[in-house]
Symmetry: D2
Subunit: 179 residues, 4 copies
Amino acid sequence: MTDEHLYSLNSKKVEAATDEWLAKRGVTREAIAELVFFLQKDYYPDLSVEECLGSVNAVLSKREVQNAVLTGIQLDVLAEEGKLISPLQEMIYNDEGLYGCDEILAFSIINVYGSIGFTNFGYIDKVKPGILEKLNDRTDKEIHTFLDDIVGAVAASAASRIAHRKQAERESNMNAPID
Amino acid sequence: MTDEHLYSLNSKKVEAATDEWLAKRGVTREAIAELVFFLQKDYYPDLSVEECLGSVNAVLSKREVQNAVLTGIQLDVLAEEGKLISPLQEMIYNDEGLYGCDEILAFSIINVYGSIGFTNFGYIDKVKPGILEKLNDRTDKEIHTFLDDIVGAVAASAASRIAHRKQAERESNMNAPID
Amino acid sequence: MTDEHLYSLNSKKVEAATDEWLAKRGVTREAIAELVFFLQKDYYPDLSVEECLGSVNAVLSKREVQNAVLTGIQLDVLAEEGKLISPLQEMIYNDEGLYGCDEILAFSIINVYGSIGFTNFGYIDKVKPGILEKLNDRTDKEIHTFLDDIVGAVAASAASRIAHRKQAERESNMNAPID
Amino acid sequence: MTDEHLYSLNSKKVEAATDEWLAKRGVTREAIAELVFFLQKDYYPDLSVEECLGSVNAVLSKREVQNAVLTGIQLDVLAEEGKLISPLQEMIYNDEGLYGCDEILAFSIINVYGSIGFTNFGYIDKVKPGILEKLNDRTDKEIHTFLDDIVGAVAASAASRIAHRKQAERESNMNAPID
């Protein structure tokens, strides 16, 4: 039980738990960076996976993102263990199409880097490249109803961040005059 | 454990569980209707609590709303029992100000009746009338980090629905000519 | 100039203007229904374009949707006529990738039928079938920066509505017992 | 008319236009900082208006925010000049309660600093302190249907940013051990 009188938010613990749980659930930052590269390579021929990884790291350092990652993984894990109340248990366990709270948490991640990430999110959620295919494979008994949307959202946000930064680079190279 | 091969969504069970869990957590539909009345009585002098209740019922019949109610109450209950992973446990148990997933689920409820409900949500979340004050009282050891936002969102949505319907009534009385 | 003292919202005018402006901008309800069919035909083999059209009509009857359609088309038309303030003019005229207000209006449409529509929106926004390809063709001098996202959002919402109704049909056929 | 072949986004122009148009419409950064101070002073007794101003500046430096400011002011100005299509003209001119695109643009601003800003937005939108009261005063013939929501959203975002930074300061003072 938690003693609320001694409670004080510890941001380092939130960040460390985010990392720990992503790893436990089989998601590396590199795998997310590969999704970003998949989304952006056609627009920026000089883009490297390393640059994508830097962007993933920046997204994962945001508090809102960490909160959504932890909350989503928590619900996945509890569904896997059969510990949720019915019929929430059945809906999350079976990734019910009419249950949309997983998408809702995902959008809270995308919003942090602005609306331009939504298209990319919808696209990789449909074609499911790389780690997203693995997360959607039900043969391994793991439940990733929330995590697949969250990983897609982190990738889409990181792609938006790259779009913003590439523009800044381009303007900086031109010394972007005001007129 | 759930057998996914036999899974088939049962909407009546989702609706019944929503009712059951709201009641278990001390929230009646009448208490939500009182919030709606509080929000709208100054705009519609002839408004009754019964009409507000009808609007609350309509909002609670929506699948998206039921999903958010069940998911939020589930997280509250688990936090109350100390069963969440750390530091998610501490953040939800203490209604951490920088944890915003409760607001996020609440917005998914408001969105169903359109953006005009956001102002009402923010307002009652701040002044906390009626049942919202009770849900925020920590002396009874119950955790309602998600539920207070969800109840506020249901009330705000029901208020939006009333605004839409009152307009329809007004136009119907005028036989609303196109020009 | 408008005389605010005589102002009274006329919902029939809002609905009629929505229809009129969609038509003026080259978008028929049938063309949107084709997008819905494209999105849902693999999931429901017995789906007809007529059923999709019924769903498009239901989405377009919502006030929030009509508001977004009119606002978006208005901004497109003004950009086409070169009448916006700079640099808003240039950003909308050129469908600037870092300008996201078009996506934002689109999401307000999707939200009305719940978060499950976001994936479909992102997908058709990327592959651009049917009318979406035409709206993105810059050779005809028309600007559809907002309208292409709005049309995609209406289609995605109509697809969500179909998913909800097909589930209701399925359960009704089974007499959906509570246990 | 714009020549799209020569188009290249100039971020400095977007930022300069945001400043210029806020000023033209009677909104100073100081007036927004006063709203932030109003929202946060009870939580942080040592908070200064200067600190609030720094936070307002940070929010206004975000591209998504600048886009929403310019788009909203553009629609206000056109409504003031009577240049919008009917009935969009009448709805924006009269700040129609069932027209919610102003709130929608406002939320895209709040989202950038996370969901915790929504409550503050709803609250100041209802009590309308300081500059918000002035923007809602219809006697001066100016239309601020979008701008009042946008200013409230910038203030709410700046308040969220302060909440995040105050927490970082607190933890830094404690050397926040991981455990």
